[in-house]
């Protein structure tokens, strides 16, 4: 785990609606994610201190910039019981595919999630299916299989609390976590 990188990216993530690295985030700084499905608004990054690229190691300035640009578009949301990539998220996947093909040493971890309805292990399956859909879409756009890992959290790590459709819509998602 490139821990320092992950920290740097978390700090860079000005538009990160739902942080996938909870250990690096003070609980006090967490906020409810927006209820409009799709757009991510500022949340954690601007409260956790100034961003710094000093820990980004050997990565070129251009790559750092490209990566920072992706951080505002790192979540794909899904319809209920569906793993199809909606038309409004095709460009999100394409942006990550472009980055990953341009920087073949870059890696991404796709984290699949489900809303809380239904049984938990079945929801692990739904989250996995969503992560796999995004993985296949990336590979179709030229990303190497070795650049991608997937994990499914099912309903275990909701982005937001709540038992209504706006909350569910925020929780049915795949997050792109850059690991390098």
């Amino acid at each position: 785990m490139k821990w320092t990188h992950a920290v740097a990216f978390a700090l860079l993530a000005v538009g990160l609606a739902s942080c996938s690295k909870p250990k690096q985030v003070q609980p006090e700084t967490t906020t409810q994610a927006p209820v409009d499905s799709g757009a991510q608004t500022s949340g954690l990054g601007n409260e956790t201190g100034p961003a710094t690229g000093a820990t980004a190691g050997a990565m070129s300035a251009a790559q750092q910039q490209a990566l920072a640009a992706l951080q505002s578009r790192n979540i794909v949301y899904f319809e209920y019981d569906s793993s199809e990539i909606r038309a409004d998220y095709v460009s999100v996947v394409a942006a990550h595919a472009a980055y990953l093909t341009k920087y073949p040493t870059a890696r991404v971890r796709l984290e699949g999630h489900a809303d809380e309805r239904g049984s938990r292990e079945y929801n692990i399956g739904l989250g996995e299916r969503r992560a796999q859909t995004v993985r296949k879409a990336l590979m179709l756009q030229g990303v190497a299989e070795s650049q991608i890992t997937t994990v499914s959290y099912g309903e275990e790590r909701p982005a937001v609390e709540g038992s209504d459709e706006p909350a569910y819509a925020q929780n049915r998602r795949v997050e792109f976590a850059q690991v390098q």
Binding site: P22, E116, I124, G125, E128, Q132, S152, E156, S163
Partner: protein
């Protein structure tokens, strides 16, 4: 039959402390405001059988070791009995000769339990008697020898015996429940795998993590828990020995490692892996680490549960488009057979101890509820009326199921009798409680 729920009467003050589930976590955890969890019965049952449990002689009333109040609380938790309030007890007999049955008939109590605790050479002797109030007949009497620390266990044993004498079903009050407790708000949550007595007393932490913990499963001998932990940033299955805390990571393959289920002989785990990027069922031999693949379908196959003879495995699959319950032979390459057809969603089958029915989560008129599926008649019987009920688990006597439900935004636990007639809702003050799993009987309890 229509089941009518009644609010617990506020006048039940005399026994209220005994009916409360107190979860006080040990050590440093106790300093956290989220760590203390208290569950109370919020909804009782109307047609439960009235029974009077007199405070046992030789004991101060109140406190965790009050035998009479533990017995009464157990009987109340079963849903089948309504213990009289202590302040309504007209007398305090501790031996049969002191009982005036007309007193208890006036209170409309069908049964009477009396007893005493007395020191003796090797510890404490607990004696009790159970009477039919109408006939005056003594139905049961027994003497147990224990220690001060063993008083609650003795009280649960007494409740087991009384329950069996009056219902014909062995009591399951001496068993335990494992569950997952979650504190904090997303994305910073704390996950704890807990076990407690079946009445919620004496909780302790089995393991904890800032990453999700899920799917606890008791080994058939009750000595180990298998569970899924994401502590390594990916799912892995662990088996932990409760007596020592020793644990072993038994499956950490690439992709998903989920839904462990012990074979009846305790030698194998059925589990879910995603070796091809999709979930299928496998059987892991715990001694040899050998893997047998049970399903290979492009659908989600998960939530295995063994048949009683270990020859087949029930599971959830959405191979027909929606989640439904199937059965497949426990060898490799067997054809799966679909079992459920009603409702658009049936998942997470759990076998009843008699092997004749499955508890499952069903989508009932837009809500996720607990149902039983009769393996012979194929009838689905919806037991609960929540919106998001899940994770049913049978008590080892088959009489009651514990499951997870939601109270507002919080996850909490509830119990329902296997026929759906009696429901007990439990509410918690703090935290999120989920995935309750009832332990098997301890070997000595059979």
């Amino acid at each position: 039959m229509t089941f009518q729920r009644a609010r617990a009467r506020p006048a039940r003050i005399g026994l209220a402390p005994a009916f409360a589930w107190f979860f006080v976590l040990a050590g440093s955890l106790a300093t956290s405001a989220h760590a203390q969890l208290r569950l109370d019965i919020t909804q009782g049952v109307r047609d439960a059988v009235p029974i009077a449990v007199v405070p046992f002689g030789g004991q101060a009333e109140g406190g965790p070791n009050d035998v009479g109040s533990v017995v009464a609380a157990d009987l109340q938790l079963s849903g089948r009995f309504t213990p009289l309030e202590r302040r309504d007890l007209v007398a305090r007999p501790t031996r049969g000769a002191q009982v005036r049955f007309e007193d208890w008939r006036l209170l409309k109590s069908d049964f009477l339990v009396i007893g005493s605790v007395a020191p003796e050479a090797s510890g404490l002797a607990v004696e009790f008697e159970l009477f039919n109030v109408r006939t005056g007949q003594q139905l049961l009497t027994q003497r147990l020898v224990t220690s001060e620390r063993g008083l609650r266990a003795a009280a649960h044993r007494i409740a087991d015996l009384i329950f069996e004498r009056l219902t014909g079903i062995p009591g399951a009050f001496s068993t335990r429940v494992a569950y997952v407790a979650v504190d904090g708000r997303p994305p910073s949550q704390r996950y704890r795998l807990m076990i407690a007595d079946a009445d919620g007393y004496g909780p302790r932490v089995v393991t904890e993590s800032s990453e999700p913990i899920m799917s606890p499963a008791w080994s058939p001998d009750g000595q180990n828990l298998a569970y899924v932990s994401f502590e390594g940033k990916a799912s892995a299955i662990y088996v932990q020995r409760l007596a020592t805390g020793d644990r072993r990571r038994v499956s950490a393959r690439a992709g998903i490692n989920g839904a462990p289920a012990w074979s009846p002989d305790g030698r194998k785990l059925a589990l879910t892996l995603s070796r091809d990027g999709n979930l299928d069922l496998y059987v892991l031999d715990l001694a040899t680490q050998g893997l047998t693949r049970l399903t290979s379908d492009s659908a989600i196959d998960t939530e295995p549960e063994w048949s009683r003879d270990g020859a087949s495995v029930y599971f959830t699959s959405d191979r027909a488009g929606s989640a439904q319950v199937y059965r497949v032979g426990a060898g490799s390459g067997q054809e799966a057979q679909r079992l459920t057809f009603t409702n658009g969603y049936n998942a997470r089958p759990r076998l009843s101890p008699d092997g004749e029915s499955l508890a499952l989560v069903t989508l009932d008129r837009g809500a996720y509820r607990i149902a039983t599926y009769d393996l012979k008649t194929r009838n689905v019987h919806v037991l609960t009326d929540g919106r998001q009920d899940e994770a049913p688990s049978f008590a080892p006597n088959g009489a009651t199921l514990i499951y997870a439900t939601r109270a507002g935004a919080k996850g909490t636990l509830a119990m329902v009798s296997a026929d759906g007639r009696f429901q007990q809702r439990l509410s918690s003050d703090t935290g999120d409680v989920r995935e309750p799993v009832w332990s098997p009987f301890r070997p000595a309890e059979r």
